[in-house]
Amino acid sequence: MVRFQNVGMRYGLGPEVLRDISFRLAPGTFHFLTGPSGAGKTSLLKLLYLATRPSRGLITMFDHDLSHTPRHRLPALRRRIGVVFQDFRLLDHLSALDNVALPLRIAGVKDDQVRAHVIELLRWVGLSDQINARPPTLSGGEKQRVAIARAVIAHPRLILADEPTGSVDPDMGMRLMHLFLELNKTGTTVVIATHDQHLIESFRRPVMRLDNGELVLPQEQAA
């Protein structure tokens, strides 16, 4: 599903923030991505959610060689990816419902189907009483749950979550992790970027560790 081969990335003319990154993500797998601050986790996630292109190396996603994929084909690939941003990146002028509905509306799903589906998911993440609330009125944990609901609503094939349990209490954190596990069981590939060693140890899944722009992998994931 995802394959990185000798990928390097730099911002502008600066030094490489990722060096010789090579790995594979098979369909239906679940991975943690960890490493100290500044190790390159966010940059690697940016490459994975197609926000930027690598400076060198080869990335293949959903059988598409990204170096040869024209710009106008990227939206279709991005719709197969659900992203939970560390800073949530919710649209402040939209209600929780409209924020979560965005991926479905972008995909052209009819409004009558969107509403019921979104309300059900918001209820599941414990926000049934905040459906019409706008992000500025929500707590950090509530925003995080809206962001997660938005990432999973369209049943993406790949979910990337940057510190998805960082702003919620441990109980809700576990509940959200189980949501990711449920989605993983249906064949969705999941990558959770986190500093939380306790979380990583609790779930015993393969760990990709970044250190100073270089990736340390479990044996089975080497490209």
Partner: protein, 293 residues
């Protein structure tokens, strides 16, 4: 088109675009006034042409001279006998006074001015009359006569009217260009304000076209509101000016009679302004997004 203009991603309002309705209203107001001016001039030239088509005017010396009536009768007889002439009728003094009134005013009419006698000559429709030959014949038979077919006067009036019409067209074109520039500015400002939001929409999988539709939708609402406002304001001003002009009693002033064709042209101005704004917004967004991400 209407389906595409329904915004379902609900882009947030941005301050730069809030002025668009008033700017478009001003532009449409100016364009409609320029168009009304052009239509009035067109109608005036047509009326002038119609009124003198197939007619000549013959002037004979001083109408108060002793042998004036004799000279007039001789000229009328000659004119009636000429080929291509349908009728020749001397104008009465009150008719001559009425013709001179717009130029000299009512009080001047009371003065004892030396006014020439005038003969109104109607030509057979489609007849090719040699005006120069007729004038020469008249001059020989009744010295001191002058034949006027009004063509030099009409030509210069039509030339002036055409120049003013082109000026009106230039004003409309300039207004169109200004509208484009303002919409480009407002759209770019909107893109800058919404940069983060657009990035999120892109990362969720929105195509450039979908993002452009949000701007089109906003621009449509604002430009349409401005266009209607501009048209209503211009129509009110035109009605007011027409009312004052009719009270002036100035026969040479062109009057504006707006028929269905003229109204269609005037209503097309706000429609065109709205379409121009939508297309400009779309192209600006697509061009800018290609450079942005």
């Amino acid at each position: 088109m209407i389906q595409r203009l329904r915004s379902n991603l609900k882009l947030a309002d941005d301050p730069a675009g809030r002025y668009l309705p008033s700017v478009v209203a001003t532009m449409v107001f100016l364009a409609v006034l320029a168009l009304v001016g052009a239509i009035a001039l067109q109608q005036a030239t047509e009326t002038w042409s119609r009124s003198i088509e197939g007619s000549l005017t013959v002037q004979i010396g001083d109408a108060k001279a002793r042998d004036a009536q004799q000279r007039i009768d001789k000229a009328v007889a000659l004119l009636k006998a000429a080929p291509g002439v349908e009728s020749a009728r001397p104008l009465t003094r009150p008719e001559i006074d009425k013709l001179l009134e717009p130029w000299l005013g009512k009080t001047a009419m009371d003065a004892d001015l030396p006014v020439p006698a005038l003969i109104d000559v109607r030509l057979v429709k489609g007849a090719a009359v040699d005006t120069a030959a007729l004038a020469s014949q008249l001059q020989q038979a009744v010295p001191g006569t002058r034949v006027d077919d009004h063509k030099p006067w009409l030509a210069s009036m039509v030339r002036l009217a055409r120049t003013l019409q082109w000026l009106a067209v230039a004003v409309v074109a300039l207004v169109g260009l200004s509208t484009v520039a303002l919409v480009v500015f407002a759209t770019r400002a909107g893109l800058a304000v919404h940069r983060d939001m657009i990035e999120v929409l892109h990362l969720i999988g929105a195509r450039d076209g979908q993002i452009a539709e949000q701007f089109e939708s906003q621009t449509f609402r604002r430009a349409a509101a401005g266009s209607v406002l501009g048209l209503v304001a211009a129509a009110a001003i035109v009605a007011l000016v027409a009312r004052f002009a009719s009270a002036l009693d100035a026969p040479l002033l062109p009057s504006v009679q707006l028929g269905p064709k003229s109204w269609a042209i005037l209503v097309a101005a706000p429609v065109a302004a709205t379409i121009l704004a939508i297309v400009t917004a779309r192209l600006t967004v697509l061009t800018t997004l290609r450079r942005m991400t």
